[in-house]
């Protein structure tokens, strides 16, 4: 199994004025190809910070992060955004869809950043919308969709460019239990079909049960 992400003695400390707040303490973690991982822990335990570091949108205070066995140096922003654009997908708690774009356009957006032709883009976006079950709502704007439908669009957007890892920060927090379970089932299905590593944070024990691997975090430390 290929290693996707490796954390080696990762610490992250925030400074609030003169006060230093440790968010992550000496984290060692490996995520491999095709894993379906839940990061579980109470609010403020460091789940989002951990996901931000995995998603390369934040920089650790100390320690080493390897992405597909390459050390991330944080020297060039352009390298990082190319890596995110090609290999990482994001699903957000409050969906974070672009309100002026319809479902199709929202899913298409990551592909606009690539050199893919318009025809290829159309085919790929329609495939993804079909896969998450909302192809018929392709022209609907986010405000015309329910919470579950919006999250499906967000999942399609996260997967459309065929990333290696998809990160989901509390993907079920804004959904009712049934919809949340449907969304997680969908993610699990895509994890199988697309062989993409899924890492999601949650504090809901019902959702945690769906994960194949659970990483627990308390006060910035991993607890097994």
């Amino acid at each position: 199994m290929k290693k996707r992400i490796e954390f080696e003695n990762i610490c992250k400390t925030y400074s609030l004025g003169k006060v230093l707040i440790p968010a992550l303490k000496n984290i060692n973690l490996n995520i491999t190809e095709g894993e379906f991982v839940a990061i579980s822990g109470p609010s403020g335990s460091g789940k989002t910070t951990l996901l931000n570091l995995i998603g390369l949108i934040d920089k650790p205070t100390s320690g080493t992060i390897r992405f597909e066995e390459n050390v991330i140096t944080y020297n060039g922003q352009s390298k990082l955004h190319r890596l995110r654009q090609a290999k990482i997908g994001f699903i957000f708690q409050s969906f974070n869809l672009i309100p002026v774009l319809n479902a199709f356009e929202n899913v298409e957006y990551p592909l606009l950043l690539t050199k893919m032709s318009a025809q290829q883009r159309k085919k790929r976006v329609e495939e993804m919308l079909d896969e998450v079950g909302i192809l018929s709502m392709r022209t609907h704007k986010p405000r015309e969709l329910s919470g579950g439908q919006r999250q499906r669009v967000a999942i399609a957007r996260a997967l459309v460019h065929q990333p290696k890892i998809v990160l989901a920060d509390e993907p079920s927090a804004n959904l009712d239990l049934q919809t949340a379970q449907d969304i997680l089932q969908l993610m699990a299905k895509l994890n199988q079909e697309e062989n993409v590593s899924f890492i999601f944070s949650t504090h809901d024990p019902q959702i945690v049960k769906i994960a194949k691997r659970v990483v627990s975090i308390r006060d910035g430390k991993l607890v097994n």
Partner: protein
């Protein structure tokens, strides 16, 4: 450029329609202000240049060089002694409508009881009328040389201030007195055939005009002060000046705008006013658009974070916002240009009269010239201002930390 991003910019611009409309309206009014002011100033320049050319200078004037460099001790000391041969050479050029001699002289004019100082212009009446008919308004009587029953009498036409001062009326005889080219005092009776207004109060109290032969007899000289060259088109002034410089060696050629100091001063003043207006509009548009973009960026901070998290580069974020500025600029400028055209037409048809300008006694119609360069310049100026005002907010947006932006509420 991917048109999808342009489409996205359009959609983002229409996201908060009211705010975009207010910003656009400021830009539209800026456009209209610049184009109407520019068109009015161009019209004023045109009016003033035509008044200067037709009322006084012609398009070009030919002088003996010394007359421009030195003061004359006696009248016509540095005059042109063979004007006819020069006029023949000048008239061979295609662009020349006609050329005519003039004598400028000064002296006293008297009704027997009272004498006043005058500034005189001796002219070829027929040709002079073709030129100065534009600016000289006859209030009574007629121009020089128009009386077919005249018995070889020397005629004079007086500016209305001179006529009023001497209580002169049409048909009265007055006496002109001046120094001849040999330094002796000479006098001659002239018949008043016309009273006119120049439109300039200072000129109206001093100015009179006689025929060339009358002045030459009075001054006892065959010379003339200069030769006025009138062209078919004002635009060919520079070209003909260059040609005349080649053909008339030993003579000085002056273009009308080199002689028209008042015109130059007005152009300088109006250009300064226009520049000041431009700067004010630039600042207003800059602040309005910057404010709109700042607010838009503030509201969309989380969205910017999302876009950057999913792989949008800083440059792309910057480009997206600049494109939004460009879209607002394009829409507003195009609307501004269109409305300016309509308003210019309405103003030009309205017949509104402007009050007399300083130093003049007659008003003029309010008119706005359609100047392609001003329309194009304003369009580019507005686009650049819109993009420039977006630059700082867009740069700030592109430099946001993704984590901070995503956490923005």
């Amino acid at each position: 450029m991917n048109t999808k991003f342009l489409k996205l910019a359009f959609k983002n611009v229409t996201r908060n329609m009211r705010r975009t409309l207010i910003t656009s309206m400021i830009m539209v009014f800026g456009c209209i202000a610049l184009i109407l002011a520019g068109g009015f100033i161009k019209y004023s320049f045109w009016g003033l240049s035509e008044t200067s050319i037709r009322g006084r200078y012609g398009h070009l004037q030919v002088f003996q060089p010394e007359s421009l460099e030195k003061d004359e001790d006696i009248p016509l000391q540095y005059g042109i002694s063979s004007p006819d041969s020069l006029i023949r050479i000048i008239s061979t050029l295609n662009e020349v409508r006609f050329a005519m001699p003039r004598i400028s002289f000064m002296g006293l004019i008297s009704n027997g009881d009272k004498s006043v100082a005058f500034m005189g212009r001796a002219v070829n009446p027929e040709k002079e009328q073709k030129l100065t008919g534009f600016s000289m308004t006859m209030e009574s009587g007629h121009h020089l040389g128009e009386d077919i029953f005249a018995q070889n009498e020397d005629e004079v036409i007086l500016a209305k201030g001179v006529a009023k001062s001497l209580k002169a009326e049409i048909g009265d005889y007055l006496t002109l007195m001046t120094t001849t080219t040999t330094g002796v005092l000479n006098a001659m009776d002239v018949k008043v055939v016309g009273i006119f207004s120049t439109g300039v109060p200072e000129m109206d109290v001093r100015f009179l005009s006689v025929s060339l032969s009358t002045a030459q007899t009075l001054l006892n000289s065959e010379r003339v002060s200069n030769i006025i060259v009138v062209l078919n088109e004002t635009d060919s002034t520079d070209k003909v000046a260059a040609q005349l410089s080649e053909h008339l060696s030993g003579f000085a050629i002056k273009k009308w705008h080199e002689l028209a100091t008042f015109y130059r001063a007005v152009v300088k003043l109006y250009n300064a006013i226009f520049t000041f207006l431009g700067i004010l509009i630039f600042i207003v548009v800059l602040l309005a658009t910057s404010n709109t973009m700042m607010m838009s960026i503030f509201e969309r901070t989380k969205e910017i974070g999302t876009l950057m998290a999913i792989g949008t580069s800083e440059k792309r974020v910057l480009a997206n916002f600049l494109m939004e500025g460009l879209v607002i600029g394009l829409l507003a400028s195009a609307t501004g240009l269109l409305l300016s055209l309509v308003l210019s037409f309405v103003i030009n048809q309205s017949g509104i009269m402007m009050p007399p300008p300083p130093g003049s006694t007659t008003g003029f119609p309010l008119n706005v010239h359609y100047v392609g360069k001003i329309y194009l310049g304003t369009f580019i100026f507005m686009l650049l201002t819109a993009v420039l005002s977006t630059l700082f907010p867009a740069f700030k947006a592109s430099r946001k930390k993704i984590v901070d932006a995503l956490g923005h509420i």
